[in-house]
C-alpha cells in the first residue's frame, strides 16, 4: 500500500508526529495539575487523528472504530474523570512544586530520550515503510518520557499522567507496526485503562483524605530496615 502515499500525506505524518512530541513535552514542562491533563488531552486527540490517517492510508475499517474509541474514552472521558478528581482534591496547592528532577533538567533528559528513541528505532529489525519510520521513534519517545515522568515526579496525579503517556506510546506503536490489534482486544485494553484510571482516582481521594496531600513522599513508610 505504501505506493499510495502521496507527498502531502507524508507531510501530514511529519507534522502530526511533531505535534505529538510537543504535546508530550507539555506534560514535562508544566507544573499545574490541569496543564498536564490539557496536554494529555491534546496528545490523545492528535493520536486519534494519526490513527484515522493510518486507517485512511491502509484502508482498514477497524482502525476508524479504534480511533473513535480513542477519542471518546481517552480524550473525553478520562480527562473528565481526572479533572473532576483535581477539582475535588482537598489539598489547596495543585502544582508540582519541587519534583525529584528539576523541570529544566527534565526537558533536557526528555530530549535525550527522544534522541535515544530515534537511535533505537534504527536498531530494531522491523521492516520500514513511511509510516513506520515516522512514528516508531515517536512511540518510543512517548513510552520513555512516560517512564521518566513516573520516576521523576512527586505528585501522584502526575504519575497517572505518566502511565497514560506510556500507554499512548504503546498504542501508537501497536497501530503503526501491526496496524492495531483486533477490535475485541482494543476494547478490552480501553476498558482496562478506564477502570485503572477510576481506581487510581479513588486511591488519589483516599490519599489526599489520609495524608492531606497527593505527594508521594508520604508513601515511604513501608520498608525493610
Amino acid at each position: 500500500m505504501s505506493d499510495l502515499i502521496l507527498p502531502t500525506q507524508i507531510d501530514l505524518l511529519h507534522v502530526s508526529a511533531v505535534i505529538l512530541l510537543i504535546a508530550t513535552f507539555g506534560i514535562v514542562v508544566r507544573r499545574g495539575f490541569s496543564d498536564w491533563l490539557h496536554a494529555y488531552r491534546y496528545q490523545t486527540i492528535i493520536l486519534a487523528g494519526v490513527v484515522t490517517l493510518i486507517a485512511f492510508v491502509t484502508s482498514i475499517w477497524e482502525l476508524y472504530i479504534v480511533s473513535a474509541l480513542t477519542l471518546g474514552i481517552k480524550a473525553i472521558i478520562i480527562p473528565k474523570v481526572l479533572f473532576y478528581v483535581t477539582k475535588k482534591l482537598d489539598s489547596p496547592i495543585k502544582l508540582e512544586m519541587n519534583p525529584y528532577v528539576s523541570l529544566r533538567i527534565s526537558v533536557i533528559a526528555s530530549a535525550l530520550l527522544v534522541a535515544m528513541s530515534y537511535f533505537m528505532a534504527l536498531q530494531l529489525p522491523i521492516s520500514s515503510d513511511k509510516t513506520i519510520s515516522v512514528f516508531l521513534p515517536v512511540s518510543f519517545s512517548l513510552f520513555f518520557i512516560g517512564l521518566f515522568i513516573i520516576i521523576s515526579r512527586r505528585k501522584a496525579l502526575n504519575q497517572i499522567v505518566g502511565l497514560l503517556t506510556i500507554e499512548n506510546g504503546l498504542f501508537l506503536f501497536a497501530v503503526v507496526v501491526t496496524h492495531g490489534f483486533s477490535l475485541i482486544i482494543e476494547i478490552g485494553l480501553m476498558a482496562d485503562i478506564l477502570v485503572g484510571v477510576i481506581i487510581s482516582s479513588i486511591l488519589l481521594f483516599r490519599m489526599s483524605h489520609t495524608f492531606d496531600s497527593v505527594d508521594i513522599k508520604n508513601l515511604e513508610s513501608l520498608r525493610d530496615d
Binding site: 513510552f143 504503546l170 501497536a174 476498558a191 482496562d192 483524605h209 525493610d224
Partner: protein, 457 residues
C-alpha cells in the same frame, strides 16, 4: 471448584480444548493453573467467612466494605481464571492487568496509611511492568504477522498460531521481545529485582487475599511468562530464555534469603518467601530438562497450597495477638494449639523439610540441576536455601515455641478458621508422599508442552 474438576477430567481425555472459534484454549498446563486457582480460591473463601467476620466484629470494616470485599473476591477469581483459558495473548494480557486492578481494590479495603501506600506502589509498578510486557507482546505479534496470512485477523495473536509460526521468527526480534516479556511478567510474578511491590502488597492485604495473591496470582503471571518461553524456545531454541530464567531466579533467591534473615514482620517474611519460591520455580524451569520442569510445575502447586496455609494461620495469629511483628508473637502453640500446630507444619513445609511436599519438588529441581550440569547455579541455590532454612526456621521456632509475652486467653478462632487449614494440611501430607495419578499425568503432559521447544531445536 466443581466445575474446575469437571473441566479437568475432560482435559485428561482430550489433552486440549478449543472453544469460541479458538478464542479460548486449554491444555494440561492451563488445567494445572485452573485446579490450583479453584482449590486455593475455594479454601480461601471458606476462610474469609471467619476472618472477615472477625474484622467486622472489631469494626475494622463496615457492612458496605464487606459487600465490596466479596464482590472483589469473586471478580479477582474470575480474572485469574481468565488468564489460563485465553488463547489470545492480548486477552491474556488484559486479564492479567485486570487482576492487578481488582486486587488493588482489595488491598485498599482497609483505609490505613499502609494499605494506601501499598496499593499505590502495587498499581504503579505492576502496571508499568505489564506495559513493558505488552510492548514485548506487540513485538511477538509483529513477528507473527510478517509470516501469517491471517494478518490483522483475530487469530494473529493466538498462542497456538504463534507456536506454529515460531520457527520462522526473526531471532533478534524474538530475543529483544522476550527480554521485555521477562521483565514485564517477571515484575508481576515477583521475580527480583522487580519484586519491590510484593512485600508491601502482600503484607497489607487482608489475609485471605494475601493467600490468593501469593499462592495463585504469582503463578498466573508466571504462566504468562511460560507461554512466551515456549514460543521463544520454538523459535530460537531454549538456551537463551533458560539462561535468563536461571539468572533472575537466583537473584530472587539471594534477595529473599537476605530479607528473610532480617525480617521483623510475619507477613512480609511470608511475602519474601514467595519471592524465594518464584525464584526456585524459575530456576527449575531454566534448567530445561524434563525432571526440572516437572519439579517446577509441581512446585507451583505445592507452593500455592503451603503458602495459603501459612497466610491463613498467620492471619488468625495476628488477629489473636493484634500484631504482625515477629518479636511480639511468641508461644503460639500455647495460646492457640491447633492454629499453632498448623503454622508449624506450614513453616516446616515451606523451608523444605523432608516429609512434606515442597521437599519433593525442591529435590527434583536440584537433581535436575546437577543432571543438566548447572553446577554453579545449583550450588548457589543450595547455599541460599540453607540460609533461608536457618533464618526462617529461627523465626518459626521463636514464634511457635517461645514463651508468650503476656497472659492471653487460650483457644483458637472458631471452626471455620480451622477447617480450611486442616484441608490444606492434609493436601500437603498427601502431596508429600505421592502425587495422585491424574495429577501426575497432567503434570507430565504439561512438562512435555514446555519441553517440546527444546527437543525440536
Amino acid at each position: 471448584m466443581i466445575q474446575g474438576l469437571f473441566l479437568l477430567s475432560s482435559i485428561l481425555e482430550k489433552k486440549s480444548i478449543s472453544i469460541f472459534d479458538g478464542l479460548f484454549y486449554l491444555d494440561s498446563l492451563s488445567a494445572i493453573m485452573i485446579i490450583t486457582i479453584s482449590l486455593v480460591g475455594f479454601i480461601s473463601s471458606l476462610y474469609s467467612v471467619n476472618y472477615m467476620g472477625r474484622q467486622y466484629d472489631k469494626l475494622i470494616v463496615d457492612r458496605q466494605k464487606l459487600v465490596r470485599y466479596y464482590q472483589g473476591f469473586n471478580m479477582f477469581l474470575f480474572t485469574m481464571l481468565l488468564v489460563p483459558i485465553s488463547n489470545n495473548l492480548g486477552i491474556m494480557w488484559i486479564a492479567i492487568e485486570a487482576t492487578t486492578l481488582v486486587s488493588v481494590l482489595l488491598i485498599m479495603l482497609y483505609t490505613k496509611q499502609g494499605s494506601i501506600e501499598a496499593s499505590w506502589k502495587y498499581l504503579l509498578i505492576a502496571t508499568v511492568g505489564l506495559s513493558l510486557a505488552l510492548f514485548g507482546i506487540i513485538l511477538f505479534y509483529y513477528a507473527n504477522s510478517v509470516y501469517d496470512n491471517s494478518f490483522n485477523s483475530i487469530h494473529g495473536m493466538d498462542w497456538t498460531n504463534m507456536v506454529k509460526n515460531a520457527p520462522q521468527f526473526d531471532p533478534n526480534l524474538v530475543k529483544f521481545a522476550f527480554i521485555f516479556i521477562l521483565v514485564g511478567f517477571g515484575t508481576k510474578a515477583g521475580l527480583a529485582p522487580m519484586h519491590t511491590w510484593l512485600p508491601d502488597a502482600h503484607s497489607e492485604a487482608p489475609s485471605p487475599i494475601s493467600a490468593l495473591l501469593s499462592g495463585v496470582l504469582l503463578n498466573c503471571a508466571f504462566y504468562g511468562l511460560l507461554r512466551f518461553h515456549i514460543i521463544s524456545s520454538y523459535s530460537i531454541g531454549p538456551e537463551f530464555s533458560n539462561m535468563l530464567l536461571i539468572i533472575l531466579g537466583i537473584i530472587s533467591l539471594g534477595i529473599a534469603a537476605a530479607s528473610i534473615y532480617f525480617q521483623k514482620d510475619v507477613k512480609r517474611m511470608l511475602a519474601f518467601s514467595s519471592v524465594e519460591h518464584m525464584g526456585i520455580i524459575s530456576v527449575s524451569m531454566g534448567f530445561g530438562v524434563f525432571l526440572g520442569i516437572y519439579g517446577a510445575i509441581l512446585h507451583m502447586i505445592n507452593h500455592a497450597v503451603v503458602k495459603s496455609l501459612l497466610f491463613f494461620s498467620s492471619g488468625s495469629i495476628s488477629q489473636k495477638y493484634q500484631t504482625k511483628s515477629i518479636a511480639d508473637t511468641s508461644g503460639i502453640i500455647k495460646t492457640m494449639p491447633i492454629t499453632g500446630f498448623m503454622f508449624l507444619i506450614g513453616g516446616l513445609a515451606i523451608i523444605g523439610m523432608p516429609p512434606f511436599n515442597i521437599f519433593m519438588s525442591e529435590f527434583l529441581m536440584l537433581s535436575s540441576g546437577f543432571s543438566s550440569e548447572n553446577f554453579l547455579a545449583s550450588g548457589l541455590v543450595i547455599l541460599f536455601l540453607v540460609i533461608i532454612f536457618a533464618s526462617f526456621g529461627k523465626h518459626l521456632l521463636h514464634m511457635v515455641f517461645g514463651n508468650p509475652k503476656y497472659e492471653m486467653e487460650k483457644g483458637d478462632l472458631g471452626k471455620l478458621s480451622i477447617l480450611p487449614m486442616i484441608i490444606l494440611v492434609s493436601v500437603i501430607f498427601i502431596m508429600g508422599i505421592y502425587v495422585p495419578e491424574p495429577l501426575q499425568t497432567l503434570i507430565e503432559d504439561a512438562s512435555k508442552i514446555i519441553l517440546v521447544g527444546g527437543a525440536n531445536s
